[in-house]
Amino acid sequence: MLESYIRSRLAEKKILLMTHIVIGYPSLDASLEIVRTMVEAGVDLMELQIPFSEPIADGPVILKANQRALANGVTVKQCLDFGSRVAGRFPIPFLYMTYFNILFKFGVDRFAEHMQKAGLHGAIVPDLPPEEAGDYLKAMGEKHLAPVFIYSPTTPTDRLNAIADVADGFIYCVARKGVTGGQTEFSLQLDGYLARCRAATSLPLALGFGVKDRSDIKFLEGKADIAVIGTQALRLMEDGGVDAVGNFIRELQR
């Protein structure tokens, strides 16, 4: 179970690190190499994004990665094979991150079954709010997979509670308005927001987006349970290759 893994890790670390890759970007081989590097650098869990042609909630960096991966011809089947491979090989929990159409076209039940067989732990589907998630929740529940849902600063309290009722594993807290990869002011406002999140759920809280360095991580300790490294890792990879990503992740945990 994802939540219990997170709890046990939190007994050892003040805050966990979750990283993100787009499967097949820049290539399937490279993706494997990035996962290996990230795991070796000490990340605690990982999102594997199955690319989609209309990634409506992603910012320009991840958007381009989606498009490049698709332009390279990456298929959903290849992504699932990839997930299967890394989940079998590396000792941390992996989640799929993708848009609902990927699951819908594949078949939600079949998708969950695949995940279970491959040893994935859960999924984040940013365009699937609980209201639309009936079949998905059922399938994930049956396969004991964690449906990770999202909190945002605009989510009212009763809705935070309602989301908590159906979510599992952890809650992904969006730190601010906007798509992935923008700047976040880590301010007092954030404290209030996270306190509201904390009050609404007993699940661990992951916080996106925009962690840039060790001091950001330090700031988040005690506030969130998981720091999400998304766009920044992708940018570093593009600028300095896989090694730069490894160094960055190690640096964050120094």
């Binding site: 989609f52 042609s53 209309e54 990634p55 409506i56 909630a57 910012g59 320009p60 958007l63 381009k64 498009q67 698709l70 298929t75 959903v76 089947k77 848009y99 609902f100 159409n101 990927i102 819908f104 076209k105 594949f106 940013p126 365009d127 699937l128 709010p129 209201e131 639309e132 849902f149 999202i150 909190y151 945002s152 600063p153 605009t154 989510t155 009212p156 809705r159 989301i163 969006v174 308005k177 906007g178 798509v179 923008g182």
Partner: protein
């Protein structure tokens, strides 16, 4: 938020509250008779509603079947039915107290309409437009900019309409406090399909009333082109309760078998999916990735379609047909010569199909074609489609003067 099996609101969490507010204000407006009255007043004083129904006597004689009538949305301010939707949403934006609007545009007509509405209401305005479309539709970009809008070329994805929609959502996700996204057609997350259809229903309401007043009975068939589906929803909605056959005409492009088309409801190439916040028929591959589409009409080459129309197709209430690029050009040519009316390439799809069916009908039957927009905005496209050498020469000479 569902229409049969279609629709829904597949929203990023951050937008849920914004949609809640939108739905609340929309529902209030819908239940407030004053709102519709104000809307009709606005459309009759700023645009020229009610738009007329024109009897196409020459086309009728030419085809020798049903009497052909044309609903003249081309006479609207900014030249298309798009005005109905944007002005309606403008009134909602005022109710919500927001100060900025954003919109996507493909052919540019919705962008021009939104920029116009923004100027009129005093809103800031940003229009997202695929880079490919910015290049193709420079005249519309020029007008949007002159109207005071910022036009942002979208360089991601296939750089066309659907990518502009994605980009508009990204803006909205960031600026929803001040900003309303004026979606241009009866697609997207609930309540957009219903709301846009409601504003466009002014077309069908008028058309039904005009037929009853002038002919004392209704047409046997109503034809409308279907891109996103807003003009079709608009005109059809006047006749849902009547014994009137409704025909939606999609872009069959180079043919339904060619793969190069944008037919989602009349071809086997589309399947149900979820994207851009709603569930409908999409032109997508087996993985659920959206495919490239083709139509001579930039306003019809969208990958999705109104979920309400998907539902009406499943229920058998609307029949869907395709018209090919070449049939469309022929229809434009004939309509110009016979009636002195220039349908937009989009609208001409409805004409092309109507021309196939009218001759099979009897002289005491009537059909209505919705002319969703005027074609003179399409001069670059139509001149290219007709391959007019004098036009090319004109452009070349103009370019030479700019070089000099």
């Amino acid at each position: 938020g569902y229409y049969g099996d279609f629709g829904g609101a597949f929203l990023p969490e951050i937008l849920v509250a914004t949609f809640d507010e939108l739905e609340r204000v929309y529902t209030e407006a819908r239940n407030d008779p004053i709102f519709w009255h104000d809307y009709e007043q606005l459309m009759s004083s700023y645009s020229c509603r009610p738009t007329p129904i024109t009897f196409a006597g020459n086309l009728t004689r030419h085809f020798g079947g049903a009497r052909i009538f044309i609903k003249r949305e081309d006479l609207n301010h900014t030249g298309a039915h798009k005005a109905n939707n944007v002005m309606g949403q403008g009134l909602l934006v005022k109710r919500m107290g927001k100060t900025r609007v954003i919109a996507e545009t493909g052919a540019g007509q919705h962008g021009v309409a939104t920029a116009t509405m923004a100027a009129r209401f005093g809103f800031d305005c940003t229009i997202y437009m695929g880079e490919v479309d910015v290049e193709r539709q420079r005249p519309n970009v020029f007008w949007m900019e002159q109207l005071g809008a910022t036009v942002v070329p979208v360089t991601d994805g296939t750089r066309i309409l659907k990518d502009a929609i994605n980009e508009a959502f990204r803006d909205w996700v960031t600026n929803m406090d001040t900003t309303h996204y004026v979606l241009g057609t009866a697609c997207g997350p609930h309540p957009f399909p219903e709301m846009v259809s409601w504003f466009q229903s002014i077309v069908g309401k008028e058309a039904r009333r005009q037929f009853m007043e002038k002919e004392d009975r209704l047409p046997a068939k109503v034809f409308a082109c279907v891109g996103g589906g807003s003009n079709a929803m608009g005109v059809f909605s006047g006749f849902f309760e009547d014994d009137v056959e409704l025909i939606g005409v999609e872009a069959a492009g180079r043919g339904l078998d060619s793969g190069a088309h944008a037919a989602r409801l009349c071809s086997q190439d589309a399947s149900v999916g979820v994207a851009q916040g709603y569930k409908t028929y999409f032109l997508q591959n087996d993985d659920g990735q959206m495919r490239e589409t083709h139509s001579i009409a930039a306003g019809l080459d969208y990958v999705g379609v109104s979920p309400i129309l998907s539902d009406l197709k499943e229920k058998g209430r609307v029949r869907f047909e395709g018209a090919t690029d070449s049939q469309v050009i022929e229809a434009v040519r004939l309509t110009m010569r016979k009636e002195g009316v220039i349908p937009a390439l989009e609208s001409a799809h409805a004409f092309a199909r109507a021309f196939k069916e009218a001759p099979q009908m009897s002289a005491d039957e009537m059909i209505l074609i919705n002319q969703s927009g005027r074609g003179d905005k399409d001069i670059f496209t139509i001149a290219d489609a007709f391959d007019d050498p004098k036009w090319k020469q004109f452009i070349i000479e103009k370019a030479n003067r700019y070089h000099a």
